[in-house]
């Protein structure tokens, strides 16, 4: 593992997982990376939306999205993930996207222990099995991927004001900015 890298909330690791675990498979299939953001997002691509959207319910409770956001939950989480990922610098973002690319092709998906069918068809049980296999893996790189995914999804979820009630956090004081007159710029 001589490639230098860094990652975001430990997800850069998954780019390396891509290289270490799935590169042979990726070459066989000619795994083609799609770079344009999905509709309504600055950074998240379709493949990222499907993967993160499939994992999130299993990460949060195993039973779906907790809290009061209801049917807006998935979209709100994805928007929050998009906002965080948009601030990533070139190297960290490309590592992360390389990892998510793996999740877009059946052959590479299987090579890293994910379901054969596309993530948008995955059940919560399949997402749970995937998470556990990465958490308990003997491969440091998978454990790193597991931690990164959990951190990314949970920090984005619980820092949403609508979800403060889930943690019993009464919330911060209301901040009223000092009312300076507009400069006209």
């Amino acid at each position: 593992m001589k490639t230098s890298r860094r990652g975001f909330l430990q997800l850069g690791a998954m780019g390396t997982a891509a290289l270490t675990i799935g590169s042979g498979a990726a070459m066989l299939t000619g795994c083609s990376a799609q770079q344009t953001p999905a509709e309504g997002f600055k950074t998240l691509r379709e493949v990222d939306v499907y993967f993160l959207g499939a994992l999130a319910p299993a990460v949060l409770t195993t039973k779906g999205y907790p809290g009061a956001l209801g049917k807006d939950a998935r979209q709100r989480l994805l928007e929050s993930l998009d906002s965080l990922m948009t601030t990533l610098q070139g190297h960290a973002l490309s590592q992360l996207q390389m990892a998510f690319d793996l999740m877009g092709s059946p052959v590479t998906r299987v090579a890293v222990g994910a379901p054969l069918h596309p993530w948008q068809e995955a059940t919560v049980e399949e997402a749970e099995a995937f998470l556990e296999s990465w958490r308990d893996s003997w491969l440091p790189i998978k454990r790193m991927g597991y931690q990164g995914l959990c951190k990314l999804i949970t920090i984005c979820w619980y820092s949403q004001p609508e979800n403060y009630a889930l943690s019993g956090y009464p919330g911060p004081p209301v901040k009223v900015p000092y009312p300076y007159p507009a400069t006209g710029e």
Partner: protein, 540 residues
């Protein structure tokens, strides 16, 4: 019943940065600097944290034309809304997700005008005497004995209004004092750099009341009032080096998404100060191919690896409210200097985003732990790394795009300290009345008794990414001292191999500090900057 914060509203607080800009400060967004432009100054300072901010004010007061460069954005009081999402996005390196190469260590470090001083928890300690002695003996650091350094620390204590916190600790910190008292362990009140603090608990998201005496509201305005300049969203790409001189620095302008906007410019100055911290500083020198005959740049970078223990109580802890750190114990810190690592015990403020990360894991248990947040206490142990030969710290390497990579193997030496510290924290938490205790380790259940905790922790395993190794303290990587086999910066902060390059920040520390490092950075910066000002004025 819906609860509300103990202080429901923060209003009527002026914003000294907005007012300064309105009064005509020389402050510029790098995106507005012309591509290919050349800017000149007497001194350019790269970085505006504890080292750069302190240095800027001292040099500006000496009558020099100082230009400060900052990679991060300019955010100020009106922007600080006590919201984790905005804070991590705008004020932290890599959206608070900076981490080591194998993912084991999570590093909280500032990235904004004012640097980490904008988001730290205000704990302020002199560099311990044992640490200064170790540096003199092992690294031939000169002029930095306790007697020689104390006046510099005292000057900065006065400048930044540092004093022991006079208010009773919040319940989260009271766990530490109550537990330590019950076990007859020494504990003390933490000195903080605050003035008129509201005791809100939001130091980590940018102080909304201007109480925290960060560089943003003290030395940076001080320098700007003396005709100095500041350019933000400005990433130092490389130093322009010719022979043994640094001519200036090449700068990449960043846009509002913190990505290069395509423009570059340069800053030329007869004196160059690096204050970019122990990760970005070594990376800048490595990108610049700076002379480094012994290959020491970026070696021995230290982090005070942090172990965490949660505890659940019957009573409310509300770990998100009140001064985040007000009590510490050094009971286990200096049993020896080298040998098994000592550690400092403190409390950790817990807002829901940070709590979600530190609880670790996923699914039902994570959800349940989050639900108990109001009754949860979190203690931390700062492991004093770098004193023993088994603790070589991190190496800073470059990724293919030139960004820094932190390689910090969490070896058995560090893990031994983690296990001892987790047991100490569990003992204190149970002595303080905790019902259940759990270290931040995936394999650790909630322990119901102290005996169960001791046994359980002794059987936990050092597996990468199975437990949290935190860090909020970046130190070293460009050690100071006169031993050229170990050091690249001299005892006055000058880079050994270049005539006019100074390193004034935490990266010059030859080991970790053994205490929260901000006052160590301020004290050494105050000393180095005053010496530099005198040298420049003497025409040297």
């Amino acid at each position: 019943m819906k609860r509300t914060p103990h202080i429901p509203m923060v209003a009527g607080i002026p914003d000294p940065i907005l007012e300064g800009i309105a009064s005509g400060w020389n402050v510029q967004d790098a995106a507005d600097v012309a591509d290919g432009g050349v800017i000149t100054a007497d001194v350019v300072i790269i970085g505006t944290g504890a080292g750069g901010g302190t240095t800027a004010e001292i040099l500006a007061e000496a009558g020099l034309n100082v230009l400060m460069l900052e990679e991060g954005p300019l955010k100020s009081t009106n922007d600080f809304k006590m919201d984790e999402r905005e804070a991590y996005h705008d004020l932290y390196q890599e959206s608070a997700g900076r981490m080591s190469k194998d993912g084991s260590m999570s590093i909280l470090q500032g990235r904004c005008v004012g640097g980490t001083t904008v988001i730290n928890w205000t704990s302020s300690f002199h560099t311990p005497e044992q640490t200064l002695e170790h540096w003199a003996n092992e690294f031939k650091l000169e002029g930095a004995s306790k007697e020689e350094m104390t006046p510099w620390f005292e000057r900065m204590e006065e400048r930044l209004q540092i004093a022991p916190w006079p208010v009773p600790p919040n319940p989260n910190n009271a766990v530490l004092s109550r537990g330590a008292e019950a076990l007859n362990l020494e504990w003390h009140v933490i000195p903080r750099n605050v003035s008129g603090c509201w005791n809100l608990g939001y130091c980590g998201t940018g102080c909304p009341t201007n109480a925290k005496q960060s560089m943003l509201v003290t030395t940076i305005p001080g320098a700007l009032n003396k005709q100095s300049g500041l350019i933000y969203n400005a990433r130092a790409e490389r130093l322009i080096i010719e022979g043994e001189k640094v001519l200036g620095v090449e700068v990449t302008a960043l846009n509002s998404d913190y990505k290069p906007n395509g423009n570059m410019f340069s800053v030329k100055a007869p004196h160059v100060v690096m204050s970019c911290g122990g990760i970005n500083g070594p990376a800048l020198l490595l990108r610049s191919d700076a002379p480094d005959p012994k290959k020491r740049v970026g070696k021995r970078t230290f982090f005070h690896p942090v172990a965490f223990n949660f505890a659940q109580f019957d009573e409310l802890i509300d770990p998100y409210y009140g001064a985040p750190q007000s009590i510490y114990s050094d009971h286990y810190q200096w049993l020896n200097v080298t040998g098994p690592a000592g550690y400092k015990l403190e409390a950790t403020p817990l807002h829901p985003g940070l709590a979600a990360v530190l609880f670790m894991g996923h699914g039902g248990r994570h959800y349940e732990d989050m639900g108990n947040l109001p009754n949860t206490n979190l203690l931390l142990a700062l492991i004093r790394d770098g004193f023993d030969e088994e603790s070589p710290g991190a190496s800073i390497e470059l990724a293919s795009d030139g960004s820094p990579v932190v390689d910090y193997p969490v070896n058995d030496y560090i893990w031994d300290a983690f296990q001892r510290a987790m047991i100490s924290m569990a003992e204190i938490q149970f002595a303080a009345g905790a019902k259940r205790v759990r270290p931040s380790h995936l394999d650790a259940p909630w322990y119901e008794t102290v005996e169960e905790a001791r046994d359980g922790i002794n059987n936990l395993d050092n597996r990468s990414n199975a437990f949290t190794v935190g860090s909020a303290h970046v130190m070293g990587g460009m050690a100071m001292g006169e031993d050229l086999d170990k050091c690249v910066v001299d005892s006055n902060g000058k880079y050994h191999y270049l005539d006019n390059l100074y390193v004034i920040d935490g990266s010059v520390f030859p080991t970790s500090i053994g205490a929260n490092p901000q006052l160590s950075v301020y004290g050494f910066a105050c000393k180095f900057a005053n010496q530099l000002a005198a040298k420049i004025k003497a025409g040297a």
